[in-house]
């Protein structure tokens, strides 16, 4: 038990330190650059890409952060944006599906490429798969929500 507690304590500290060292700088950099022209250009460009899986321009920034740095950090930005300006549930759902299929594209992929996995499959195939799953699940969820709404439980929004 003491062994367990010790592992839990050191592991938690490691985890929190890593999250802190990444989340706070991301948020500061995001806040400072969010208003600049170059950041808008990057987000606009990214928005044009993720438009194809049903994400709008306001979802582009959290999706980009998650795609590059990881689900926890992208999720953090999503939580922030949900709090700031009520992001629609439909957008949060699409982002969550897409990011749960592919995130931390550089770091995670590199680990496996170092082990000998093919970059083509680990990166290109995975992104295509993520887009496919996102489109399929969004369509499925749309059908489900419409059916629920017809039955009369009105307050569902997706």
């Amino acid at each position: 038990m003491t062994e367990f507690l010790r592992t839990f304590a050191t592991g938690s500290f490691d985890l929190l330190l890593r999250v802190f060292l990444i989340v706070v700088p991301i948020m500061v950099v995001l806040e400072v650059f969010e208003g600049t022209r170059s950041f808008r250009v990057v987000v606009r460009g990214w928005a044009r890409v993720v438009r194809h899986v049903g994400l709008d321009e306001r979802s582009a920034a959290p999706t980009l952060i998650g795609f590059l740095f990881g689900l926890a950090y992208g999720g953090g930005v999503i939580v922030r944006d949900v709090r700031r300006h009520d992001l629609g549930r439909r957008q949060v759902f699409i982002m969550s599906v897409f990011l749960s299929m592919v995130h931390a594209i550089v770091e995670d992929s590199l680990i496996f490429i170092a082990l000998g996995a093919s970059i083509m499959w680990v990166v290109v195939y995975r992104v295509l798969w993520a887009a496919l799953v996102t489109l399929a699940l969004t369509a499925l969820a749309g059908v489900w929500v419409r059916r629920r709404r017809r039955k009369g439980s009105g307050d569902l929004e997706l």
Binding site: F4, T7, F8, G11, L15, L16, V19, F20, V23, V24, P25, I26, M27, V28, V29, L30, E31, V32, G35, R40, A47, R51, D56, E57, R58, A72, G75, G76, V77, V79, R80, V82, D86, G88, R89, R90, V92, S96, S100, M101, V102, D108, S109, I111, F112, L115, G116, A117, S118, W121, V122, Y125, R126, W129, V133, L137, V145, R146, E157, L158
Partner: protein, 169 residues
Amino acid sequence: MRESPRMTGPDDTPPGAPLPQPPAGFWPTVRRDLRLGVIAGLQTFWDLTKVMIPAYGVTLALQQLGVIGWLSTVARPLMTALGLPGDAAVPLVVGYLLNIYAAVGSMQALDLTPRQVTVLAIAILIGHNLVVEGAVLHKAGMNGFAFGALRIVAGLAAAVVANLLMGLV
């Protein structure tokens, strides 16, 4: 879907519309943004802490109780469908419950061909760290359990399809 009232809130600028301008003055803007950034960062850090630490504790407990070993035995037959040796179930389950680094660590112990590494990598890259990351998704308002299941199923399916396609090429 499109008629949802949430989609047309006051904050919902249509895509392509110009974004709001920051206040005049370079340094005042930067100072304000730095302050906002630190506040948002600390808030997010606290949000993540509240969900990640309990999730981490649960995961550690599962590991200590021998759940990983048991699940690996259960998942063994599944590995054949992926063209992998039965032992490959261990890194997969380790990845699901812990994280990518732990999975890679236990992959080192196996003797896999490059193709097998790629197939296993796809399954692990889609599904990993399910407890902690599921907790984050839960915080964002989604069902963390459903997303965990989705990542396992979709990851295995992606690996099966990749294995079949690689057989063709």
